[in-house]
Symmetry: C2
């Protein structure tokens, strides 16, 4: 167990069914910008939340795409400035919440996201605009992290931006919002949350508080993800998944992630896999090597979750994924043998890969990828 | 599991051996007031921490008594104002940290603590003075709560004061500070931390994040408290106990406590028992009735901690306390049969007693107290 650690989670968490329709009291000022994707705007979810903000002047920006681009960020920031927003509310999966984080800063910080990110040299001044994040999936945990992930549309490079101004003031988690998720999305986002938990747990920068949270989150996911997949209306399972995603989010917000997420970047950027699929496809393989440096700790986890050993645990997770028709082999994403060195190289360029509890170099990462080709 | 909950822990946590000697970078402004008890001042601990605050002008107030009085608070506030303190640092068990919380507010809020507490009608304006709490025991968890407990010297009434201005900016936990604790204090403060964890877990206002933290804290305490008691120099056990106390503190900071703490108030105020003793003496008895409303949840906890059932778990905790020579019967504190109705009445006057997972009224509380007379 680490003998030195820091823990800081300044975001206030609100959890409950139906709560997002009554957020007015939590919103500073009068003018709100709600950021969402087009789907959540068209199906009325974003507007129902806005309508609940009694007495506020609400504007909407609903052009957020998956893996949001810096151009979308700048377009949303222009609307926020025009509206003189006192509070930015991000509603959605990771994308809209991530955009809301940087947009709430850009209301009072001049210029483009490029001035502050990916080669930009300006430093964000403290945020004075409120920031509320509302997840509509049970997966990303972005509502309780200080990270946004943005894509440079011209270079196709997807990079995380970490800033303490990105901690939302409030994370409002309402399991009712997840009830319309299609089974495939329930599976992929749910297993993304599982990756967050296990990557926090086996992380070289793990800490005891987060280990406990991660263990609890994994237990909830193993017990509930298939139920929510099989029966989207099972509110007990939905609620458990929302809790698990939140708790896994708190855990990895302190530790960062590891090889699974590092490897997901090229699988998403170059093979078009959704984030949840791009992460979970390597999950069983990373589990099998995690004993290299954390044998005892992984055995303890396996026992806690009802498995006899780490191998048995990895098999169980793989079977669970298979039972939800998730891809288990890289060729299902279109990856070919000759792509492997490049994927390994890009994965190794992400610093977080070195937080994996195993030796990570071209040889070991290529071997891992080949084992699941 | 509760379907609606809030979680907010704005305090930044720093944990590590030796870290309290290097806090200068975390301190806002130039002028620091260190609040401690006379013992920590005389033995040089408070000064060693002050000496590490390179470049700061440090003053000391070291007249804090156990169960601190409002008069001590006002005396410390006068020194803080005189010194124009930018930051107040509380070092000690619960008492000094609790005093530091209110004193950091009184630097810029005029008048006496009585103006804001126990019948006072003024409201504290937001704190602009920094607040750092440093525990020297592994027990109170006060470094991560927004509660201070103060005693009115003339009425002998001990009452908690809850205020969001009391969340420390920083909780700095250094296990090295606990190495000189005598075995009896290791035992009583360690079991106080155990009470925090179990009272968070079985609380009617429990929440999933805190359940997970509480379970982890209890596991650490059961594994390490006797080791730290037997061998005060065992730094691995000391470190585990410091972690457990911190984690239990985070858990109960969100849920509050229950019958154990409610009953401790008269046992401390009227029978002079230390806080840890006054709490843990009723712990096994409260464990035995906790199945009344939380049978399944308590069984799950017992299994997680390696016991076959709740009764077995309660017996195990009682034996552990006995092995550390802790009092197990109320008569050992001087309580007589005829005192029981009064103790029950005072305990029942604390609202938190109704968060216990069992029916709490004069009849049930008296019966519980008689069972351990």
């Amino acid at each position: 167990m680490t003998e030195q650690f820091k823990f800081h989670m300044p975001t206030q968490i609100l959890f409950g069914r139906g709560l997002v329709k009554h957020l007015a009291d939590y919103i500073p000022g009068e003018k709100v910008l709600i950021v969402s994707d087009p789907f959540l705007y068209k199906n009325g979810v974003a507007q129902a939340i806005g309508d609940g903000m009694t007495g506020k002047k609400v504007a909407y920006f609903s052009d957020i795409e998956p893996n949001p681009s810096c151009e979308s960020v700048d377009a949303a920031a222009a609307v926020a400035r025009e509206h003189s927003a006192d509070c930015v509310v991000g509603i959605g999966g990771g994308s809209s919440m991530d955009v809301a984080k940087i947009v709430s800063c850009l209301v009072t910080n001049p210029g483009s996201i490029y001035d502050y990110y990916s080669g930009g040299t300006k430093k964000l001044c403290p945020r004075t605009t409120g920031l509320i994040c509302i997840p509509t999936t049970a997966g990303t945990g972005s509502e309780v992290t200080n990270v946004g992930v943005f894509t440079n549309r011209s270079t196709h490079v997807k990079l995380p931006m970490v800033n303490n101004e990105f901690w939302p003031d409030i994370a409002a988690i309402d399991p009712d919002l997840t009830v319309t998720l299609p089974p495939a999305v329930t599976a992929s986002t749910g297993m993304d949350a599982f990756c967050h938990a296990i990557e926090a747990y086996w992380n070289k920068e793990s800490l005891p508080l987060c280990d406990m949270l991660a263990m609890g989150a994994m237990k909830l996911i193993l017990k509930n993800v298939k139920k929510a997949y099989d029966n989207p209306q099972d509110m007990e399972a939905r609620s458990a998944m929302s809790k698990a995603s939140l708790i896994a989010g708190v855990a990895f917000s302190q530790t960062r992630t590891t090889g699974i997420h590092a490897t997901s970047f090229p699988l998403t950027a170059e093979f078009g896999a959704s984030h949840g699929i791009a992460c979970s496809i390597t999950l069983p393989a990373f589990m099998r090597i995690s004993g290299e440096l954390e044998q005892e700790k992984m055995q303890e986890l396996a026992s806690y979750l009802g498995y006899s050993c780490l191998e048995d645990f990895a098999d169980g997770v793989e079977q669970l994924m298979g039972s939800m028709k998730m891809p288990l082999r890289l060729h299902e994403l279109g990856v070919k043998e000759e792509d492997i060195p490049h994927i390994a190289e890009v994965a190794l360029s992400a610093q977080i890969i070195q937080l994996t509890p195993a030796v990570m170099n071209m040889e070991t990462v290529e071997r891992l990828l080949r084992s699941i080709l």
